[in-house]
């Protein structure tokens, strides 16, 4: 298959991918920050500074996405990642596609 691409496509695709990865890292940082906050090992002042830093990171990411016109590209990469993780989990938990949800009523012994 011939791949047609110009500089603009390449830049948008690459930038979209980079920002999607930055967002995933930001999400991980958020989870860690919440765990620390809940764990009680931080003072209120430390929690506040951590929150402000993450807030600034949010603003920077949103600004970059808008400025570079890659909001859609980032969303698409993240949806692709979500689908990939979904199918990985599905593959690990139900490799033969025989989870109960695929069973028919008759197979479940349910009378209709």
């Amino acid at each position: 298959m011939k791949l047609e691409m110009n500089d603009k496509d390449l830049k948008q695709g690459l930038f979209g991918l980079v920002l999607a990865i930055v967002e995933v890292i930001r999400d991980t940082l958020r989870i860690q920050a919440l765990k620390r906050m809940e764990g009680g090992s931080l003072t209120e002042d430390e929690i506040n500074r951590l929150g402000v830093t993450l807030m600034e990171l949010d603003k920077a990411i949103e600004h970059l996405k808008e400025e570079q016109g890659v909001t859609e590209a980032v969303r698409s990469v993240r949806e692709g990642l979500d689908d990939w993780v979904d199918s990985m989990v599905q593959g690990l938990t139900d490799p033969y596609g025989i989870a109960p949800s695929r069973q028919t009523n008759k197979e479940k012994g349910i009378c209709t």
Partner: protein, 256 residues
């Protein structure tokens, strides 16, 4: 007639007459009815190789032709066992594709007849339930003390702490919505199950935010007895924040 050629197969049916279907299929060749001991294979002569194309449009058009041939066969024979798009029977071991196909029909005869019997006069219906969490959420929020307390706490905190608490609130809301979706799923599943013969739960598809598909079902039911399902779906569609998509009747692709 058939030598080094392959046979593209659309569906199987029960019958005793080998009349052609008077239409052309995927490759522009006449669609034939190949009879073998009371079973009919609806086929078209083609090259003995897989149907492949890198062009999505070519594949999508092919799929539509496949479906329309199965539809026409379904109308003629009432009950069909549809095949997935892209199945080609090849000549092998010195036998033509037609001989191979008949051999397979012979070997699997009992199981194929059993499947056709199970699908007799039945059709597949698609049911998708979509909800708008923004409409359902106020009800959840109203009854949840943890959410209410957290919302109050956020207002009294400095902005960095409030930011983190808002994230925590978002996680709790997400969890509550998932729980609610699960409860609705079980309720709707039960209600729909009582109106159909068989159900397959399919993967949900992505909707335009904020809407989300919470249920995607393929249902098998007698064509003449689908009114009950229609009525139940109408009731579900009337619940505030929910939409129901109901499609069909289709040949029973998901149950073949």
């Amino acid at each position: 007639m058939m030598t080094d050629k392959g046979l593209y197969i659309y569906c199987l049916a029960q019958g005793n007459q080998e009349e052609p279907l008077e239409l052309r299929g995927l490759g522009g060749q006449p669609v034939m009815a190949l009879l073998h001991r009371g079973l009919i294979a609806v086929v078209e002569e083609c090259e003995a190789k897989s149907i492949q194309s890198e062009d999505q449009k070519v594949l999508a058009d092919g799929l539509l032709i496949h479906q329309s041939v199965v539809d026409i066969a379904w109308e003629r024979y009432e009950t069909v066992l549809p095949f997935s798009f892209g199945m080609v029977i090849r000549p092998m071991d010195g036998k033509t594709a037609g001989e191979n196909l008949k051999g397979w029909m012979e070997r699997e005869s009992e199981e194929l007849r059993g499947k056709l019997m199970r699908l007799k006069s039945k059709a597949e219906y698609g049911v998708q339930v979509i909800w708008d969490p923004t409409i359902v959420l106020p009800k959840i929020r109203h009854n949840d003390k943890e959410i209410q307390d957290l919302e109050k706490e956020i207002q009294s905190k400095p902005k960095g702490v409030a930011y983190l608490l808002e994230r925590k609130l978002a996680e709790i809301i997400k969890k509550r919505l998932e729980e609610a979706a699960n409860v609705y799923f079980k309720d709707f599943y039960q209600r729909i199950r009582n109106c159909v013969e068989e159900i397959h739960v399919e993967k949900v598809r992505r909707e335009n935010p904020p809407k989300q598909m919470i249920m995607n079902l393929s249902c098998l039911q007698e064509k003449d007895e689908v009114v009950l399902l229609g009525r139940e779906l109408e009731k579900i569609g009337k619940i505030q924040g929910f939409d129901v998509r109901f499609t069909g009747p289709w040949p029973p692709y998901s149950f073949a």
